[in-house]
Amino acid sequence: MKKIISLLFISALGVLLLFVVASMPRMGDPESPTREHVIPRYLENAEEETNSPNVITGIILNYRGYDTSGEVTVIFCALACVLAILGREKRGRIHSYVDRSPVPASPVVKTMVRFLAPFIILFSVYTILHGEISPGGGFQGGAIVGASIIIFTTIFGLWEASRRIPQKFRVPLEGSAFIIFFIVGILGIVGGGNFLTYAWPNIANNLQPSVVLWLTIIVEIGIGLGGAMVLISILFAMMREEEAIAPTA
């Protein structure tokens, strides 16, 4: 009986969703409603207003800076929740998890990870710094750094990874995304604009036209560092072993 009801409910929902999809505008339709309000303005003025050649970066960090700072805060809150539940790993009491895993990492995997990790980090630096020109940016680059460190941690263990990224270096950087966003936003107010208008450099535009671009890059770096550190800290908190003994080495 339960199964029949849930089947009916799901099929009704499916039919409803299919109707919605059928009435959506075609992809790339120039007259679809999403392209009529703010999109033309963004496409025409973004480059001179935000000084970033990649319009998406201009929209995310400049026009919709509030949204992005909110997202950054959400990521930070996720870390705060994980730490509130699991607790931060203790220095000197952490233990390589993989050593105790029933399936030890093979030499092939270890060599490949050791060989590839620097290149992944290099690519993420490119993604962050080149974000205002090509696809990508702070979030993506931060996620890639985080992923490379996470791969390293799962293969070589928490002890090795936390020796390379010590807690005293990681903890202050976790909030860097929001702090840098806030500082840049305050700079906007100081310059006579609203929060996050990047107005201060607009006054200085006569001297240095690319200050807006530089501020955008600084915000990107902050988001990238903060996001990466939050991901790494979440993984470390999940992997820590309460009863583990510190390695003798």
Partner: protein, 81 residues
């Protein structure tokens, strides 16, 4: 050709989504879910959203997979019936 590729990707997407839910071995479910994310990244790229494709590939296929794996190793591998 392009339409055929789209159809193949959509079919693989739906297939991997169903398999990820149906799998009794949670490790297999997580790996299938990362395959889902990878195909989704390709779909984003086909929809001309390279930013989303990068995010999906890094977060969906990379980070969440490893976080799920750690969670599984900390608990039980088999789904309880």
């Amino acid at each position: 050709m392009a339409t055929a590729l789209n159809v193949v990707m959509i079919v693989l997407l739906i297939l991997s989504a169903i398999l990820a839910v149906r799998a009794k071995d949670l490790l297999a479910a997580v790996i299938i879910f990362s395959v889902y994310s990878l195909i989704m990244a390709l779909v984003w790229q086909r929809l001309q959203a390279p930013d989303l494709a990068l995010t999906e590939a890094a977060v969906g296929a990379g980070v969440t997979t490893v976080l799920f794996l750690v969670a599984i190793f900390k608990t039980h591998r088999e789904e309880e019936r």
